[in-house]
């Protein structure tokens, strides 16, 4: 899942102590838990609020797509996980409880046999799509094929090479994915994997594998997304501007345990002016501030004074903000050049530009994910940076004077981060210029492999709490895709590839036993300076006076849980 960051201060403590979840990479989504206890908080949708009505949510960037088959952003996942339910899903609670896998459209979590290579599940009876058409087991197989063909950004790591026949289908050598067999009469679904893949249960919970009807085109349908099975239906899409998530009237009758129905319809308005978005929530003209956006520091005093009861900052510990550096192109094909960035980057400055919401960092795996290192940072404690040493490293690398294009989103503070980074690169001896890309198309643009972007902004929020979610998508050479690529730095290190392949087979339940191996890999990546991590984000949990604040759930995996939105 795309880059979002998820707050989970409470989750951090619990996860470090007893990490049991596979890491998912998703764009910034944060679950609020900084002020809640470390244990699972109750925050599942309660029924104490009023039913009915409409809630207005404001977000700074339009989802990459409202078709879950293509989307890989936090903004999209936030909507899609309650619109397209898969065989498995996550508990609708705050904190670490929200990382627990539960059955979705399957009657139970899949049975795993054959040494971890065969997953068997049975579809619940009586399921219908939001258009009333009955759901069949073969629709699941079709959904997997669609995700491969589009292709979804994580398919190169989690689906295509993992399921038997996935690669042959992807290259056109087969008409279907041979590793999936279904029986519409019994609802049985059997999935054969090429090799054991510990996080596959988590993969089944991805919105991209939320079942859609067979016959849905094998292409992204952003403006008219296909019907799904879930508490909500996406409607009224005005691309780049707004959309709505309306209660699915057919959902409640299906009685899927653990996945509540919605209480209110949700209108989502997109504006890159996050200051204006924050003010509208403060002034109660909008109801929910998207957790993936950063409230400008200039508004924090007002918000903390006037809205103390409905604002908090939470650290989910499941997200990483970093700068990718293309290891195949000059100047960052030189490790010394990459080390110069790690050595000289002023993380204190980056934190201030982020209105103080960033926790300086150097390791790729964030604190809430198994394998987060405790060793000291290889290039010095994140702080003011050492400019003189960075300049010397650039000279030593022989890359002085190299032109560099820094890719950047437009909205604050991402643009400011990259403007500062561009200025820093010029200071240490490169000839850097900044290229601004509209937020909604940024990741699609830098994900075009033929562009070979040299360096730029990136972030990742866990799709699931297994490190393979970070490494498998973002740093594994096998995950490099021609389009929708997430390994922007085109990192293709044999050691990284081999470790990911080996450690990725470890089931989620056994992660803690092997955390030290992930730690070693993370320390290796930090020493090689493949990415310049500059912080772990804390996120705003901010709503209007109209909202039943106590009932709100911020999933550590997917962000705001729309089923928890209630009016007072």
């Amino acid at each position: 899942m795309k880059r979002y960051t998820r707050p989970a201060a409470a989750m951090v403590l619990t996860v470090i102590a007893a990490l049991v979840i596979g890491a998912c990479g998703s764009s910034s989504s944060s679950s609020s838990s900084s002020s809640s206890s470390a244990g699972a908080s109750s925050g599942s949708s309660s029924s104490s609020g009023a039913k009915g009505g409409t809630v207005n949510m404001v977000e700074g960037v339009f989802p990459q797509s409202l078709d879950a088959g293509d989307d890989y952003t936090t903004q999209g996942a936030e909507i899609n996980w309650v619109t397209y339910t898969g065989l498995t899903t996550y508990a609708h609670v705050n904190g670490i409880g929200g990382t627990k896998l539960i059955p979705g459209l399957a009657t139970a979590l899949p049975t795993i046999t054959d040494g971890g290579k065969t997953y068997t599940a049975t579809l619940r009876k009586g399921l219908v799509f939001s258009n009333g058409k009955p759901v069949t087991a073969s629709d699941f197989a079709y959904t997997v094929e669609r995700s491969i063909k589009i292709p979804w950004g994580g398919s190169g790591e989690f689906i295509t090479p993992v399921i038997v026949g996935g690669t042959a289908f992807s290259t056109g050598k087969a008409k279907s994915v041979s590793g999936i067999t279904t029986n519409n009469a019994t609802g049985k679904i059997v999935i054969h994997l090429v090799a054991p893949y510990g996080a596959f249960d988590n993969v089944l919970a991805e919105p991209t594998l939320g079942i859609v009807p067979a016959g849905t085109p094998f292409s992204n349908q952003p403006n008219h997304p296909p019907p799904g099975v879930g508490p909500y239906v996406t409607k009224n899409i005005v691309p780049g501007v707004s959309y709505s998530s309306d209660i699915n009237p057919l959902w409640a009758k299906m009685n899927v345990p653990g996945i509540p129905a919605g209480h209110v319809n949700v209108n989502v308005k997109v504006s890159s002016n996050v200051a204006s978005n924050a003010l509208s929530v403060l002034n109660n003209t909008a109801d929910i501030f998207d957790w993936a956006d950063t409230i400008p520091g200039s508004l924090l005093p007002q918000i903390q004074t006037k809205a103390a009861s409905r604002y908090k900052l939470v650290n989910l510990g499941g997200s990483t903000y970093y700068i990718f550096m293309n290891a195949t192109k000059k100047p960052f094909s030189s490790q010394l050049a990459r080390e110069a960035v790690m050595t000289g980057l002023n993380q204190d400055a980056m934190t201030r530009l982020g209105a103080g919401t960033l926790v300086p960092a150097c390791f790729f795996l964030p604190p809430a994910v198994a394998g987060h290192p405790t060793a000291p940072c290889p290039y010095g404690t994140p702080g003011l940076g050492n400019l003189a040493k960075a300049k010397a490293l650039v000279k030593q690398s022989g890359m002085e004077g190299q032109p560099v294009t820094v890719w950047s989103q437009e909205r604050a503070p991402r643009q400011q981060w990259m403007t500062y980074y561009t200025q820093f690169l010029n200071q240490i001896g490169f000839k850097a210029t900044q290229k601004l890309i509209a937020d909604a198309t940024y990741f699609t643009t830098v994900g075009e492999l033929k562009l070979h972007p040299q360096t730029g902004f990136a972030d990742w929020n866990q799709d699931f709490t297994n490190p393979v979610d970070f490494y498998g998508v973002l740093l594994d050479g096998h995950a490099i895709l021609p389009t929708n690529n997430e390994n922007f730095g085109e990192v293709n290190d044999p050691h990284v590839n081999a470790e990911v392949a080996k450690l990725g087979t470890i089931p989620t339940t056994q992660l803690q036993k092997n955390a030290s191996q992930w730690q070693a890999l993370d320390e290796y990546v930090a020493k090689k300076a493949y990415v310049a991590v500059f912080g772990y984000q804390k996120f705003p949990f901010f709503a209007s006076d109209r909202i039943n604040y106590g009932a709100l759930v911020l999933s550590p995996i997917y962000g705001w849980d729309l089923t928890s939105f209630q009016l007072k």
Binding site: V274, A349, P413, Q416, Y420
Partner: protein
């Protein structure tokens, strides 16, 4: 945007208005330029604002002097984690929550405050003015040159040439200026123009210069349609002068007052459009400053640090207003009966 022009230049038969405007004490045969200058001299308001604009231009041209010798910082170099002493107290240039310091009123240290990246606002204001004025001037030059060529050619040749050129102008004119500017700015910023990279300041200048061509070309064409029927053009043809010679030696000098009146109008609109495009992110690219992108950057710090919006905004208003008022005065002086204007 409607542009109209009415007959009645200094070359019209009715000279009495000129004598009345000039106070009636001019010797016969006083040239139109002298007449115009006298009218302009009487317009104190126009002269004042012309002076204001000149001051702005000079200040912006002196940006490197201010940057190097007084403020001792460059426009792109920030100091996010630095501190300065203000009134005996040590203050963060940018606070821990990202709020930049406000005006210190000390010319050597953040006179007008800092922006979110710790850059000196006063230095960026002057360099931004240089960029905005440079782009405005280049765009104006481009517009005037191309518009004159197209307008004169269309009006002189008439027929098919006029038809084709006028339709092309109509197509460009049909698009709202801002929309066309955004479209061209976005596309060209990616690939550049030939050897010129997308981040070069000439790119927004070309875009702005291009979109305003019809607003000058069409009234020029209208005037040329009238001028070509005059006796002196017939005489020139009978003397065997070439078309090019007639167009640029006989007709164009008669458009000089129109040209002069249009220059400040186009310049003002070009500076405004550049600010709008930069504000929207498709004009001057960071880290190059421009009044438009300074306003956009400053929005994130309202209300705690609104100086980053107020200062470039006021400067923009002052510059455009000065040019417009001076341009109005110039038009009144050179073409008192004309109705030339650009309406958006």
């Amino acid at each position: 945007m409607a542009t109209t022009s009415a007959p009645g230049t200094e070359f019209s038969d009715d000279l009495s208005a000129g004598f009345v405007d000039a106070g009636g004490d001019l010797a016969p045969g006083t040239g139109p330029w002298k007449l115009g200058w006298r009218r302009l001299r009487r317009n104190k308001v126009a002269l004042f604002f012309g002076g204001v604009f000149l001051v702005i231009v000079v200040l912006c041209l002196l940006a490197p002097v201010y940057s190097q010798d007084i403020a001792h910082v460059s426009p792109s170099l920030g100091n996010i984690t630095g501190t300065i002493r203000v009134g005996g107290k040590t203050e963060n240039i940018v606070s821990l929550t990202g709020i930049p310091i406000g005006p210190t009123w000390d010319p050597s240290h953040y006179f007008l405050g800092a922006d979110t990246l710790g850059r000196d606002t006063a230095v960026r204001l002057l360099y931004g003015g240089r960029n905005s004025l440079e782009i405005g001037a280049v765009a104006t030059l481009l517009t005037m040159v191309l518009a004159l060529i197209v307008g004169i050619a269309a009006g002189y040749f008439r027929g098919i040439a006029d038809g084709v050129l006028s339709r092309i102008l109509d197509i460009i004119w049909a698009y709202p200026v801002l929309l066309l500017g955004i479209t061209l700015g976005t596309v060209i910023a990616v690939g550049g123009i030939g050897p010129i990279k997308g981040s070069n300041l000439l790119v927004p200048a070309f875009v702005i210069g291009f979109v305003y061509i019809p607003y000058v070309a069409k009234p020029v064409r209208g005037q040329v349609l009238q001028l070509r029927e005059r006796e002196f053009i017939d005489a020139a043809r009978q003397q065997g002068l070439s078309h090019a010679r007639i167009m640029f030696s006989e007709i164009m000098p008669n458009l000089s007052s129109t040209i002069l009146v249009f220059i400040p109008l186009i310049l003002a609109n070009a500076i405004l459009l550049e600010a709008a495009l930069s504000y929207l992110g498709v004009g001057v690219e960071p880290p190059n400053p421009s009044w438009g992108n300074m306003i956009a950057d400053g929005l994130t710090t309202i209300p705690e640090a609104f100086h980053n919006v107020l200062v470039p905004g006021l400067m923009l208003v002052l510059a455009v207003m000065s040019i417009n008022i001076f341009g109005d005065g110039l038009r009144d002086a050179l073409d008192p009966r004309a109705k030339v204007r650009i309406a958006h």
